[in-house]
């Protein structure tokens, strides 16, 4: 006979545990990783390895310090997911200590010091990314170019990648080139048309490489939606807002702005929309809230890209919206069954 008095429900959806959710998200990044590796060489994979090891070590260490069951929490794959997201977000030839710093900071400060999984108000991966972006701007802006565009004419070999990451690769300069966003940002006085015809980073192969990357992440993200791990609200709102912003400004000032298509297919647009902004812990809870949250990030991305100091704005956009997520939550409660309208705010005693 049962000794445990277990209350209802007595059953659970089989298999769909938190670790499964995390694994699925990690798996959904594979298309992106493959495309990145194909375009930029082994650096991404090496970064991923460094990031994963750092994440597991720092998570285990801090769990041990916090006297938690290390094995149990490591198996939730949340630390690994953070590491993977950071690993693919960092430039492929970034020195190893940048990756370590970013991941360790993300795990220890952005996540565990807030109480671990589920309690962090900010997206840990983006905290780590922002930290290294602010602290080490030079290595962080060193993206590799597609093989047809760079002087070297080939992607880095595995050994070269290792050398670039762990030591120093003298010939690295012949492999790197600005990203399209970088290039567009530094078009200076050129108008758009001139920029797209003259700046190397804005040439077809470069743009196409980023189109591929974004397409790969879009595929992964759609997979997540199909698996019902994320809902469509955040990515759709994010991309929609970015599209609308880009479209409106392009309509008014076509000579100085890029097309909406350019905005959606360069940088971390898709990666951010499907993998970063949808981080459940630090985003909004209700569907309406997610729409607002996603739209906010989209708008912020466009603002930072156009007028900010950094070529891409996903990290800061996400972090800024993380701040407002609780507030949005309070004002976007769904209308509960049997209530005429949804409650907002936290006023108590105002039933309807």
């Amino acid at each position: 006979m049962a000794l445990l008095r277990i209350t209802s429900p007595h059953t659970q959806r089989a298999g769909r545990r938190t670790s499964w959710v995390m694994q699925m998200v990690i798996l959904a990044t594979i298309p992106g990783i493959v495309v990145q590796t194909w375009l930029f060489g082994w650096g991404t994979l090496i970064n991923l390895m460094i990031a994963c090891i750092t994440a597991l070590l720092s998570e285990a260490a801090i769990l041990a310090v916090r006297r938690r069951a290390v094995g149990f929490f490591l198996k939730d794959y949340s630390a690994l997911l953070t590491a993977v997201l950071l690993g693919v977000a960092l430039p492929p030839v970034v020195p190893w200590w940048v990756t370590v710093t970013a991941v360790a900071f993300a795990i220890i400060f952005a996540k565990q010091l807030y109480g671990g999984l589920g309690n962090n108000p900010f997206n840990p991966a983006m905290v780590g990314y922002a930290i290294v972006l602010v602290s080490f701007p030079v290595p962080m802006s060193q993206w590799l170019g597609v093989q047809s565009m760079i002087p070297a004419g080939e992607t880095l070999s595995f050994m070269q990648s290792l050398q670039a990451i762990f030591h120093h690769l003298p010939v690295i300069d012949s492999y790197t080139m600005a990203t399209p966003l970088d290039g567009f940002k530094h078009k200076d006085l050129l108008d758009s048309q001139a920029a797209f015809s003259s700046i190397a980073a804005l040439q077809g192969p470069s743009l196409n490489s980023w189109l591929w990357v974004n397409a790969a992440y879009l595929v992964g993200g759609l997979g997540l939606i199909w698996l019902r791990i994320i809902t469509w609200h955040t990515p759709a709102a994010l991309l929609g807002a970015l599209l609308v912003m880009a479209g409106v400004f392009h309509l008014f000032d076509p000579s100085n702005t890029a097309t909406p298509f350019f905005q959606l297919t360069t940088g971390a647009a898709m990666f951010g929309a499907f993998f970063i902004a949808t981080d459940p812990v630090s985003s909004c809870t209700s569907n309406r809230g997610r729409l607002i949250y996603g739209a906010g990030i989209g708008i912020l991305i466009y603002i930072i890209r156009s007028w900010g100091g950094y070529p891409d704005g996903v990290a800061f956009g996400v972090l800024l919206m993380n701040f407002s997520a609780p507030l949005i939550d309070y004002y976007t409660q769904p209308r509960t069954y049997g209530h005429k309208k949804a409650k907002t705010g936290l006023k108590v005693g105002e039933d309807n």
Partner: protein
């Protein structure tokens, strides 16, 4: 065609929902089973929502199948019938099927195996008789909602008449996994179900009748459709997609009508009625077959059963019996659940019986329902939110529940959670969300109950604060009164000086010291008393019974102590007629008027309360308690009004007499008494308040408080009595000291004088009261009935006694003091003599006043007989006679006094004004002068008001003026020896 059209109904959708594995096929493999009779049937008395049924049988009774063995106990209750024939083996507590594993009173029936039916009486004419009768019949058949909660069906049907019914929904959704009892019931009893629905429709008259059924029951749907089209019925079938919890009442209503049941309301409020299929069949069986509800369809399923199936089982059958019937494998069993896996509850024991709401027994193996995975952190993935059929934010609710932020949880509509378990089911972190919600809900409910309690406590606290404030205010008022009195003393010294009536205070110090000490003692005692009373009240407020008794004893002790101290003080003050005492004549009105104001406020307050109560009484005329309260308040009011009238009189008296009368001592004492009385009354009021409060909250200490009230009232009454006749208390001490020593003797004499004065004042007051009564138009009988005449009499007797005493004693010392007057040592004697004179003067003034009163009556146009009937003339004569004895020696200005008397009545000639003592003539003369002056004034006034008597009055004036002159010359001779004294005044 028409039937086909009618049978399709629009289906809406609801938010959320889950698709757990259905697991329904297992129990549908075998046909409906009919388990054998168990050894005993355990029939809990509380199988429904509401009051438990009352058993009709005793142990040992033989019952037939279908016989009523328990009847309803109130409105929300139900009947219970014997599921089979047999003997009542016991009525005792047994473990029942309940989420908390409780025991409850059960009737234990030992079947005899014969299954002998009691005669069945179907309600064939249900279409003709009134619906209420049909409902009553359903109640007697023990029919309750068989879907879940067990709500008595007749109550639900009655409630459905609140609004015009748009939808009558038959819930056949059966969305819980594993359960197929309703499915089987529809298959087996399709016709009965439809007939039952038709009977119910006759009762509720809904616009639409819809059977809501999930699309995973094709056989049942087909059977229903066949019958409905055959009967060309207006009943519609709405096939809803399989989704848990579509069988939830609210969700099914949303599915079939698109409407939502407003939060906190019932389906009937939006014109919808839901009935379970089982209930419909039971209604049919009851009305057309006359069979009460004694059995139901139950699903026996789970991996631990080799032969899972549906059974038609008699209520009271132990679960163990059914498990055995379904080839139970004990080794496999890991969890025994009553109900489905989503909302069912675990059973501790298989000994519990099947009841009217048991739809499934799930004997699950470990593999089937594994132990819950360890809870992980909520990653706010929102899956719960997507699944919640109530559109809640389960993850936020979890957060608030964990952090005990119940207000926020409530704001997030925690109480709209139907505990369906969908959120827990989908949660990837295996968080038992529903458990958290249940805990929060019960915590909030507890907090609400605690709130109600704390509200009561707050009321009590406020009452206590009000009481403390009142006490403080009282203290402050008393302090102010004292201050005023003392300052008045100081200012009045000058005013009193010309009266020259005040005696010196040579003998005072000793007594004042002692009295001071006594007063301090009293003050200490009173403060102790107050502290004790406060403690007592606190104890009552906090319901500490033992403390209350203890404190009450202490309070009474303290009260006694104070009373004795006060008595001593009274003696002391009467023995020490020192300067302040005599000089506060003017001071007395102030506190008295304060008193008066307070008393008037009391009257007003009581009046208001009385009115309120009377209003209440009008609303609820049968309330005995209210009536009692009203009468109590009426008496209160009466008492308060009495005090007011008394007080107003005394204020009048004191203002009237303040001119010349040294009634200081008495007014002091009066003041004290009045304050005491006021305190006592305040105590009474306080206790009454406490009593009322106690009555309001039905506190157990009502009796104690009532008793206290009585005691307090008694005390107040006593005090009032003493207040009413202070003269009675005052003279008691008088005869004690009478030694012929110079000092003591003089003191005694003084005291006697004062007593005399007091007594006279008392008489005056009594007379005034009578006068007042008369003015108020009370007839004689009433006045006689009041205590005043008798009091007057008493006082007069006392006065007579005192005066006699004084007269006999007066001669010796006073003669001696005439010569020694200027000498310092003999001062006291002289004072005494002076005092005596003053007293005499007072007495005379009293008589005069009486005469004045008579005059007043005349002025008011009362005829002679009335006046004669009043006691004034008599009194007057008595007083005059008494005076006559005292004044035998006096002759000089005698006639003048008698003059007004001549006019008032024929007996005025009886007045002989003897001179009393020549030695103290000076004082006498002064008074005489004053009196004569007053007389002249008065006469002049009268002259103005009644010119027809002018001659008479003029003569009088002349005579009085002569008298005045002679008195003044006499006075002049002696005046130089008085200068010192006058200055002292």
């Amino acid at each position: 065609m028409q039937a086909a059209k009618l049978q399709t109904a629009q289906v809406f959708s609801f938010h959320g929902g889950i698709h757990p594995p259905e697991n329904k096929t297992q129990s549908l493999q075998l046909p409906l089973g009919k388990p054998s009779l168990p050894n005993e049937l355990i029939l809990p008395l509380g199988q429904h929502i509401g009051q438990s049924s009352r058993p009709l049988v005793k142990v040992g009774d033989k019952v037939l199948k279908g016989e009523t063995i328990a009847i309803n106990n109130g409105f929300l209750s139900s009947f219970l019938h014997a599921p089979t024939s047999g003997t009542i083996a016991a009525i005792e507590e047994r473990l029942i099927a309940h989420p908390s594993g409780l025991s409850d009173l059960c009737i234990i029936l030992a079947p005899d195996g014969n299954e002998t039916w009691t005669p069945l009486e179907p309600l064939d004419n249900w279409q003709d008789i009134s619906k209420t009768d049909v409902l009553a019949y359903l109640s007697e058949m023990g029919i309750i909602g068989m879907g879940g909660a067990g709500f008595p069906t007749q109550v639900k049907l009655q409630g459905a008449h609140k609004n015009p019914l748009t939808h009558f929904i038959i819930n056949a959704a059966e969305c819980e996994p594993y359960i197929t009892a309703d499915d089987m019931l529809i298959r087996e009893k399709t016709l009965e179900l439809v007939l039952g629905i038709e009977i119910l429709q006759h009762l509720v008259e809904a616009d639409n009748i819809v059977i809501g059924i999930e699309d995973n029951k094709p056989t049942a749907i087909a059977a229903l459709k066949a019958i409905l089209s055959e009967r060309n019925s207006q009943i519609q079938i709405a096939v809803v997609p399989t989704k848990y919890p579509s069988g939830g009442e609210k969700q099914l209503i949303q599915l079939l009508t698109g409407k939502e049941v407003p939060s906190g309301q019932y389906p009937a409020d939006i014109g919808v009625l839901c009935q379970n299929v089982g209930t419909c069949v039971a209604v049919h069986d009851a009305i057309t077959l006359g069979k009460p509800l004694i059995s139901r369809f139950t699903t026996l399923t789970g991996d631990a059963l080799k032969a899972p199936q549906n059974v038609e089982v008699l209520f009271g059958t132990p679960v163990a019996h059914l498990l055995e019937y379904a080839d139970f494998e004990p080794k496999k069993l890991s969890r025994l659940i009553m109900g489905g896996p989503m909302m069912g509850y675990t059973l501790d024991s298989a000994a519990v019986p099947i009841v009217k709401t048991s739809n499934c027994i799930l004997a699950a193996s470990k593999k089937e329902l594994p132990a819950p995975a360890p809870e992980q952190a909520c990653i706010r993935c929102g899956m719960c939110e997507q699944a919640c059929p109530a559109s809640l934010l389960p993850q936020q609710l979890l957060w608030f529940s964990k952090s005990q932020e119940f207000e926020k949880a409530e704001h997030h509509n925690l109480f709209d959670c139907i505990e369906c378990g969908a959120c827990s089911y989908v949660c990837p972190s295996s968080i038992p969300l529903v458990q958290y919600y249940r805990h929060s809900k019960s915590s909030i409910r507890e907090a609400r109950e605690a709130n109600v309690k704390s509200d009561l406590a707050k009321q009590r606290f406020e009452a206590r604060k009000a009481r403390q404030d009142a006490e403080a205010a009282e203290k402050e008022a008393k302090r102010l009164a004292r201050q005023k009195a003392s300052s008045n003393k100081a200012t009045d010294k000058k005013k009193a000086a010309p009266e020259k009536a005040a005696p010196t205070a040579a003998a005072a110090p000793a007594t004042t010291d002692e009295s001071k000490k006594l007063k301090v003692d009293i003050a200490i005692g009173k403060s102790k008393l107050k502290k004790l009373q406060k403690q007592l009240l606190e104890a009552q407020e906090n319901e500490h019974v033992e403390e209350i008794n203890n404190l009450q004893l202490q309070v009474t002790d303290q009260e006694k102590a104070i009373a004795s101290l006060e008595e001593q003080l009274a003696q002391m003050t009467s023995a020490a007629p020192d300067a302040p005492a005599t000089n506060t004549a003017k001071a007395s009105p102030a506190p008295v008027s304060d008193e008066l104001k307070k008393a008037k406020v009391d009257v007003a307050l009581i009046g208001v309360k009385l009115k309120k109560l009377q209003k209440q009484l009008v609303e609820t005329p049968d309330d005995q308690e209210l009536k009692d309260k009203v009468s109590a308040f009426e008496t209160d009011l009466k008492a308060a009004q009495d005090t007011v009238s008394k007080l107003s009189e005394s204020t009048q008296a004191s203002t009237n007499t303040a001119a010349a009368e040294p009634k200081a001592a008495i007014s002091d004492e009066l003041k004290k008494l009045k304050i005491d009385a006021a305190i006592a009354k305040a105590a009474v009021k306080k206790v009454e308040k406490a009593l009322k409060k106690a009555e309001e909250i039905n506190a157990p200490e009502i009796e104690a408080i009532r008793q206290q009230l009585q005691e307090a009232q008694q005390r107040a009454d006593e005090l009032e009595k003493t207040l009413a006749n202070p003269e009675a208390a005052a003279p008691k001490a008088a005869p004690v000291k009478a030694e012929p020593e110079t000092n003591v003797d003089a003191d005694a004499a003084k005291k006697r004088k004062i007593d005399l004065a007091i007594a006279k004042a008392g008489i005056k007051k009594a007379e005034k009261n009578i006068q007042l009564l008369k003015e108020q138009g009370k007839d004689e009988a009433e006045i006689n009935a009041s205590e005043w005449p008798s009091k007057l009499k008493e006082a007069q007797d006392k006065l007579a006694g005192l005066e006699k005493e004084q007269a006999s004693e007066a001669t010796a010392p006073s003669v001696a003091t005439v010569t020694s007057a200027p000498i310092a040592t003999a001062n006291i004697d002289a004072d005494a003599a002076k005092k005596r004179k003053i007293d005499l003067a007072i007495a005379k003034a009293g008589i005069k006043k009486a005469e004045k009163n008579i005059q007043l009556l005349k002025d008011q146009g009362k005829d002679e007989s009335e006046i004669e009937a009043s006691e004034w003339p008599k009194k007057l004569i008595e007083a005059q006679q008494k005076l006559a004895a005292l004044e035998a020696e006096e002759s000089t200005s005698a006639t003048s006094v008698s003059t007004p008397v001549e006019k008032t009545a024929a007996n005025s000639e009886a007045k002989v004004e003897p001179e009393m003592d020549l030695a103290t003539q000076i004082k006498k003369e002064k008074i005489a002068v004053a009196l004569a002056k007053a007389q002249i004034n008065k006469l002049n006034k009268r002259l103005e008001s009644s010119p027809e008597e002018a001659d008479n009055i003029k003569q009088e004036i002349v005579a009085t003026e002569q008298r005045l002159q002679s008195a003044e010359t006499l006075l002049e001779k002696l005046i130089h020896s008085q200068t010192n004294m006058q200055e002292n005044r």
